[in-house]
Symmetry: C2
Subunit: 386 residues, 2 copies
């Protein structure tokens, strides 16, 4: 198979951009990605684009990307896969370039959650991401949905609310050094435990904020890499996993089978295993979810997630830093952009340019889970300059 | 590049399925596609799926496909590109298989327009497919949008409302022999001209109906074709083109630049030209649009579309039959399914199995245009048994 690399990456700050629409955010991210290419990049080189977006734009999504970024001759496919949208959009671009039919692809993710646009609201996309027959009408929106899993996980694993709080404390600490992060302040375990309850076992500080933002990647085939950079970041593996939508059909609430499936595919394609990962960005939409992610991704044994975060291994400076960007928890979570932004962070990590650098990172993993824990996407990136 | 073939195809009848939800329609189409494979097909062979759908399902689209069709281990990407969704979903699957990372892909398109589901309506997806800042608020929804184009086209080309009516008469005649078509009755030019006006120059019989339905294709790599059939239909070309979204930015209302761009890509990839096409399914959401399609696809000279339909060339029995299935006009138009259903018809045409067979068809073209005439997708299929 033809090898595929990232040669550019950019993103907007994540936050409550009440003053910016999606038509403003898209060109900001694309311009930064184009500007990040070492040897320069012409937009006319783009053969095709993929746009990850849920339901918060101001109209026809593919056309809005073309219009707002001056990409009139670029075919654009909109991909939607709930909170796994970003890494799945990248997966599709990788297939396009790997096929040999395209040399250069643009991947963009964006969402406006903090707005009331002409056609959509936060609650509209909430509905889009779960089953309308059962789960949504009885209130199983994202916090309640993940709470069902994490409550059972705490019960079976012996992990505690303090372990959840350690995830929040770690990711807030990481986010302080990231100028693109939404919540750039330190918190303590007590802050998390004392915060107002959203839904047991999640207080306010156990939850990701609602965010606006956009992120972009430039993806090229191996034969043209040299035109753009001598420091490519290779896409070594991609994977996507699904599961049943409704919660009455889940057989084990303490694991997310889509993550296990997506990781298996991505590891196999990359020819690496969990022990090879130097740095990861994982889906911490709620703190307890990051603990389950550790286990599903193979970073530790089953029910050892609490002990892993407590050991400090997943903080920058530890054995396997997770969410050095601040994660969804501190950096923010505009769903369509989230997976792309994870890869922006890892692109910078692998090139030694992150604001919260993990020393010597050579292999990196990005992970999203979404859609009532019914879909997950995993991307493995690698740097092999020498 | 690795060659890619269709080995199975199926679809539900298109119509007003008030008694069926999308969870019923999806397995109907997939089951028919699986059953159509000459040497048999196991669902466990499917490596990945693409699902084209706008906004009318009962919740999380990718998960609903997995759930309703028993495809728990299949990664599913939802693709949305307004009325070009179907052929773009196929394009993405072709990239996936052509990359060599997948051997067998399922492509499904579906929409429920004739319903009021828990979360969506016809008008919600109408909004999704145009610009919310200008076009939608002033009423430029699909009929008005295409009317702006066709009015100018009639003015500049000399084509008449009678020429438009001939498209409707032809496609209704074709649809009569298609058991899957929604409007299976003959009409006359006078019927069309005397029908109640929707928006000048479109009467009721110039407009596609609103439809529910699903369609599915099985796409495989060349090395595994023989497992499934000795009569593969090859995907010879795919293309996708975009344009500006808002009508004040269109430079020429008498042509659809996205079609021209998509066709150029697909013809180049296939190594064929318009003269090589034996049969086509094109986007006739409104009658005058089919006339413009003829020109944009290179089937005739500019402004010769009216004369072409009048000559009988585009009827079954003519030089280049267009919409032998009945087209959107008679077969129906559930947007996410439409492009896939066009390829179902062409799959059958190329294998000599259509209910309205074009003799000796060897090369076929499918075409969608959508999203305020801002996106088009073209697929070229070919049969080379010997």
């Amino acid at each position: 198979m033809r090898r595929v690399a990232l040669v550019g990456a950019g993103m907007t700050p994540f936050g409550e951009h009440f003053d910016l629409g999606i038509k403003d955010l898209l060109p900001m991210a694309v311009t930064e990605a184009v500007g990040s290419v070492d040897k320069g990049f012409e937009r006319a080189d783009i053969d095709a684009a993929w746009f990850g977006e849920l339901t918060t734009t101001d109209g026809f999504p593919s056309g809005i990307l073309v219009d707002s970024c001056g990409l009139l001759d670029v075919p654009v496919t909109r991909v939607e896969n709930a909170c796994a949208t970003g890494n799945d959009a990248l997966r599709n671009a990788v297939y396009g370039v790997a096929s040999g039919m395209l040399d250069v692809a643009l991947v963009v993710g964006a969402d406006k959650v903090r707005e009331s646009s002409a056609r959509s609201t936060f609650w509209e996309w909430m509905g889009l991401t779960r089953d309308m027959a059962w789960d949504y009408p009885i209130g199983v929106v994202a916090p309640a949905n993940f709470a069902l899993h994490v409550n059972r996980y705490l019960h079976e694993s012996g992990a505690t609310r303090e372990h959840q709080a350690m995830v929040a404390v770690k990711n807030h600490h990481h986010g302080v050094s990231n100028p693109k992060a939404q919540l750039r302040f330190e918190i303590t375990v007590d802050d998390v435990l004392d915060a107002p309850m959203v839904v047991e076992p999640f207080g306010v500080y156990d939850c990701t904020p609602q965010s606006d933002g956009a992120a972009a990647l430039l993806v090229v085939g191996e034969e043209v890499v040299d035109r753009y950079t001598d420091r490519p970041v290779w896409v070594r593996g991609v994977g996507l996993g699904l599961d049943r939508v409704m919660h009455q059909h889940k057989t084990d609430m303490t694991t997310f089978p889509p993550t296990v499936k997506a990781a298996r595919q991505a590891y196999a394609m990359a020819g690496v295993g969990p022990a090879d990962i130097d740095v990861a960005e994982v889906h911490d939409c709620f703190t307890g979810v990051e603990l389950i992610d550790y286990e599903d991704l193979g970073f530790c044994d089953r029910f050892a997630g609490g002990a892993l975060v407590e050991s400090g291994a997943t903080a920058v400076g530890g054995r396997l830093p997770v969410n050095p960007s601040g994660g969804l928890k501190s950096k923010g979570h505009p769903p369509g952009a989230t997976g792309i932004a994870q890869c922006v962070e890892l692109f910078e990590q692998l090139r030694g340019e992150s604001t919260n650098q993990v020393d010597g990172a050579r292999v990196a993993l990005a992970h999203n889970i979404g859609g009532p824990t019914a879909v997950a996407a995993v991307t493995i990136l690698g740097f092999d300059k020498d």
